[in-house]
Amino acid sequence: MNSPNEPGTLRISTEEDRCVAAGHCVVAAPEVFDQREDDGVVVLLDPRPPAGVRAAVEEAALLCPAAAIRLVSGT
């Protein structure tokens, strides 16, 4: 990815006990989200990802069927 790499204003939080393991976030933003192998619950790989993945993270947050992903700041 030839995106800006500085850790930006983007901050992400996930709520594991809301997660329903759909995995849509992993498809949308594999740089930022993964799933636990046994139960599929979200693993946040990077809570402060570079600005270049913002669009993908926003997509993941909107797609999440459990509303378990929040963009804490970075408007």
């Binding site: 046994d38 993908a56 997509e59 509303a67």
Partner: protein, 428 residues
């Protein structure tokens, strides 16, 4: 979705433009560039996606319930069991909603639409003009005849419904759930979790058969039976039985009465299109939309209410009642409003949590498809199954196998053709 990150071409959408082109008067009437009717996940996601894509026009979000927009899947599980307080279902808290700069009208249903004049009427009589209209009014629970006259009979669609049912379950001696679809099965599992006896009635030979097919439906029946549910399949219901204004049971088609002091009717939903009568739009078990989710010039349908992909008499289109479709369709429509042009061709997805089992399904499992277990075994209670029709993959079912299901969507896209150019991702 991967491989389809086309930044949308921005296009101004304003009431003024529309008024000019339509020759309608713009003075004096309240309104918004985009009016969204329905403030559940579909409607709210349209608003969020528009703002994230940089839309700066005016937005109105109209909802018939008083609560801030909330999520419905937990209502039959975490909320009904008491594990979550109702407020936990909120999709966004008030400050986040304020950040969207919305004219948010809650507790105020739209009662009429005039598509030719581009205006809707709210219950209090106010008229709102729109540049673009998004219909995301969802669906209403279907009821049984006589239900309204009997205490103890419930449907479950809203937070209020969930609270009322939970109250009744506290003192329920025998609960009967009518309909073993996703909702009925989840409710039965929750009632068992509360330690209460429950009978589940279903006309088909297996629970969730239309969604899972008979092989895995039989596995689901076994699961419920093991957890103490009295499962009566192949048992159509004739009606409710009551005494002194309170339900006492459910009469089956064969004449047997299954006793119950609490009855939950989970026999499906009908799209909320009553308010569209006389609107000029076509309604046929849902708001009829084309493959761009457009019901008419400037009018879109999103979520449970929308029958999309219709084209003349030959193609009736499909209506998907699931959480993921509401979101994906909302994001698609927001992109279309802002000028992206694509066809909406989702891979259907739903999940259901019952006891400690998570069932996930991509695609569909048609009645005559063959089921092949591709990972794990039925007995191990952890498996992935493929549904195939004429040798072609049409559905992927996961049973407690979420990690392994991630590739399913990609597999189905390969099977049904190239990834549709759904522009779900855009620069904010």
């Amino acid at each position: 979705m991967p491989g389809c990150r086309h930044p949308p071409r921005e296009r101004d959408v304003s009431v003024a433009d529309v008024a000019e082109s339509e020759g309608a008067e713009s003075e004096g009437a309240a309104g918004a560039d985009v009016v969204i009717v329905g403030a559940s996940v579909g409607g709210l996601t349209v608003a969020q996606a528009l703002r994230r894509r940089g839309f700066r026009g005016s937005l109105a979000l109209i909802g018939d319930e008083r609560e801030l927009p909330y999520d419905r899947p937990p209502l039959s599980k975490e909320v009904l069991s008491g594990q979550w307080p109702p407020a936990r279902t909120r999709l966004r808290e008030r400050p986040e909603l304020d950040g969207l700069d919305l004219d948010l009208r809650l507790g105020q249903p739209a009662v009429a639409l005039d598509a030719a004049r581009r205006r809707i009427t709210l219950r209090d009589g106010e008229a709102l003009r729109y540049g673009r209209l998004v219909v995301a009014t969802g669906a209403h629970a279907r009821r049984l005849p006589g239900q309204a006259e009997l205490a103890g009979v419930h449907t479950l669609r809203t937070l209020d419904d969930s609270a009322r049912l939970r109250d009744d379950l506290r003192t329920a001696r025998r609960t009967v759930v009518v309909g073993a679809g996703v909702l009925g099965c989840e409710i039965a599992a929750t009632v068992r979790g509360l330690g209460r006896p429950v009978t589940l009635l279903e006309p088909a030979p297996h629970p969730m058969e239309r969604l899972l097919g008979p092989t895995i439906g039989a596995e689901l029946a076994r699961l419920h039976t093991e957890h103490g549910v009295r499962m009566l399949t192949s048992t159509p219901v004739a009606g409710l039985v009551g005494a002194d204004g309170r339900v006492t049971g459910v009469r089956t088609a064969s004449g047997e009465v299954v006793p119950g002091d609490v009855v939950v009717v989970a026999v499906g939903a009908r799209p909320a299109t009553d308010w569209l009568a006389g609107s000029g739009l076509t309604v046929d078990d849902g708001l009829v939309c084309d493959d761009r989710c457009r019901a008419a010039d400037g009018v879109y349908g999103v979520g449970d209410v929308a029958r999309f992909g219709a084209s003349g008499a030959a193609e009736r289109g499909v209506r998907l009642e699931n959480r993921t479709n509401a979101t994906e369709q909302a994001m698609f429509v927001a992109a279309d409003i802002l000028g992206a042009v694509a066809r909406y061709r989702p891979v259907p997805y739903f999940w259901s949590d019952q006891y400690r089992v998570r069932i996930q399904v991509y695609g569909t499992v048609p009645a005559r498809s063959s089921i092949r277990i591709v990972e794990g075994t039925l007995d191990s209670r952890r498996f992935v199954a493929h549904a195939e029709t004429a040798g072609r993959l049409v559905g992927v079912i996961g049973w407690n196998s979420p990690g392994r299901l991630r590739t399913a969507r990609g597999l189905l896209h390969e099977a049904v053709g190239p990834e549709p150019a759904a522009p779900l991702s855009g620069q904010a």
